[in-house]
Symmetry: C2
Subunit: 421 residues, 2 copies
């Protein structure tokens, strides 16, 4: 109880300090923010040894705890990973500063000039798991957009994150920016997360970065608005008017380029009239080492196709597995997507522009594509620079969450003495 109270108090205190820092940061120059990022990158390079020592402690802790090999790999740093983190900071320094941009401007008949101008969002809470690089990536992105950030990393990576955080603080200090701009929750106590999720009035947005169970907890418990996606059940629909080679290239790329990312395709829909293309594409997926789980008609095409269960249509495999079925044209595809998609990314393959436009208009997902691989669902590929994640919510940010999505706006009204009649 005393412990819980002190965690609550600690978090409240961090929240207050973040708000003060956010007010200062909102007015910081682009130069100062970039200097902090570049100096932090320099500190990372200079302190490789210290960071690796800290990482060694985390790896010891992880071994004792019996973490899986995959988790140990996510946790592990080496010189090249640290250099990559530093380069990430330098890349964010290169991005244009969104703060102060005029988004829209117009004049009123009474002579008032009205401008909608970008300002920082305020205070961002980032809750993540074992990858220590998120400390730098998320901290830097929030900073560049003029926000204060409270970082709550996984307990497994506490030492590594702290060592990386120390480099960010060195950057802030050198640039003359408040150290409270990037705070790290330095406790393994999980009560800190629960506290963050209720800090309305102090934290403006929570961004969870990690596996399904983390995102699910944050989405269900948070009183603070959340930018996230729970899963990416992405669809590729091959229309009757598809170019067979494009269909094959895109389907195989969408599924197999990287199977573990949220933009990977999980379900292949094929127009009933495109049986020949289906044989061609399914064969290529199977040849590429992908397991295909199909409806009866798909199973009839290739005896390597396994039967799909009802659950398969709502499953994010994140693996070399795809569900596949025939649908009745683009409307059948749209219905299937409406019922089963997680609202992340869907793509139609067709040479018929009208059919494509129907799909692009009617499918209600964050990202809808025509003749392109769902694996392009990424802030970098969209030209936004770095992203902190992909959101499937409908409020404020939808799709890749980059610098612009980490801002709010205000109205500046310029008059010459106008009063309202």
């Amino acid at each position: 109880m005393a412990e819980e109270q002190s965690i609550a108090q600690m978090m409240q205190d961090m929240g207050k300090r973040a708000k003060v820092a956010a007010a200062e940061l909102a007015l910081a120059s682009t130069d100062a923010k970039n200097k902090a990022l570049l100096e932090a990158a320099g500190a990372l390079k200079k302190n490789v040894r210290t960071i690796l020592e800290a990482n060694e402690k985390d790896l010891d802790y992880g071994r004792e705890k019996g973490l899986s090999d995959a988790m140990m790999d996510r946790l592990a740093l080496d010189r090249s990973r640290i250099i990559a983190i530093a380069k990430g900071l330098e890349a964010i320094a290169e991005l244009p500063d969104p703060v102060g941009d005029t988004i829209a401007e117009w004049d009123r008949p009474n002579g008032l000039n009205i401008a909608r101008v970008r300002v920082p969002l305020g205070v961002i809470g980032v809750i993540y798991e074992s990858r220590p690089n998120v400390t730098a990536d998320a901290g830097a992105l929030c900073l560049k957009a003029g926000n204060a950030v409270i970082l709550r990393g996984g307990s497994d990576s506490l030492h590594s994150s702290s060592a990386i955080h120390a480099c960010l603080l060195e950057g802030l200090r050198t640039a003359g920016l408040p150290e409270d701009a990037i705070q790290l929750v330095a406790t393994r106590d999980r009560a800190a997360v629960g506290e963050m999720l209720t800090m309305t009035g102090m934290i403006d947005i929570i961004v969870p970065r990690g596996g399904r169970s983390l995102v699910e907890r944050v989405q269900s418990e948070s009183r603070v608005p959340v930018f996230a996606h729970l899963e990416g059940i992405c669809h590729v629909y091959i229309d009757g008017a598809a170019d067979p080679q494009k269909a094959l290239d895109i389907a195989v790329n969408a599924k197999m380029r990287r199977t573990g990312i949220c933009g990977a395709a999980e379900t292949l829909l094929v127009d009933e009239s495109a049986e020949a293309i289906a044989i061609f594409v399914i064969g290529a997926l199977l040849d590429a080492g992908c397991e295909v789980r199909g409806d009866d008609a798909m199973m009839a095409l290739d005896d390597r196709v396994k039967p799909a269960s009802d659950d398969d249509w709502k499953t994010e495999y994140l693996d070399a597995v795809i569900s596949a079925r025939f649908v009745s044209g683009v409307e059948g595809a749209i219905s299937h997507v409406a019922e089963n998609s997680s609202g992340h990314t869907e793509s139609i393959i067709t040479e018929d522009t009208e059919t494509a436009e129907t799909f692009l208009r009617k499918v209600d997902s964050a990202i809808v594509m025509h003749n392109a691989s769902t694996q392009f669902a990424d802030g970098g590929e969209f030209g936004m620079g770095a992203e902190i994640g992909i959101a499937t919510g409908r409020i404020h940010a939808r799709g890749p969450v980059g610098l612009e999505q980490l801002t709010s706006f205000k109205y500046q009204v310029r008059g010459t003495g106008q009063t309202r009649p």
Copy 2:
């Protein structure tokens, strides 16, 4: 308990039907939506007598309940008020449809074309008090932006709201749109509000329209994101370089034009160097019938000035009362605002552009003005057409919430067969 369960069930059912209607409405043509609005306006005009009879029942109920004169006035309808409501619907039909607008579009080096396109927000919950006209205004605005809406009016206006709602349904039917697009919670049970506030996954945004206690309850209890402002503690700052006549005109207009609106000024700040202007402006406010509560220096200027307490700097009077104090230049004004403002609207009066720009940049409110009355803080005055309210939050909507703010967006990506390397 059984009653509570049935309210919960009723609301869940309404939520599900709203989601189905929202999916249909998202694809409805502008013509169909406009037809629904115009037919509803026609139905209102045709059914004036029925609506007045329903209103009479509410007024009887209100008299029995002993409602105040002000509340009875808000509740009361007459022919001209009903005609005004109908004209409001016609005006919303005239506004451009935001759905389908391309907000941004760009090409990538690999040839992908990316467009950010406006789509409806989804399902909006509107919780309001005794004014029955909100039924039509809010219903129409949500409809025009392609959203389904669940309206929960004050229990005092249940009959009037139901009669107006029937006209909206007639409009939807005639236009071939789903009646579930505009649903009215037809119960006086307050549990319905509590239920709405927890319907994440069914309701995308809650908009409370009413007094402070309603907004406070919604903001503190809602699990669904909220567009609202709790209060409008708006400031007018008269700089040392202000034009005295502009200062007087704007200060008197900002306070006295209508004292009961959220954009009315509540505090006057004057630069220490502008004592002569202060005498001039304070005198005009007092002469206009405004009570002035000042610091010692203000009291020394005019013996009609009453002493301000500490609370006065954080009070929204919504009445002919203003607090007034001297500050040390624009930085003093910015500090006072940062400490006391509700983040709604603030205005600086000065002929010095540089000082004005400092104020516009540094003050972190939804609307910041230069040489203009705070009473312009209004969607109509901004040229947005009708508004559903003003938001002081930082997420999604800030400032006037009009049609555009009631939309979300999605990305449409058009390719020619691109796969990700």
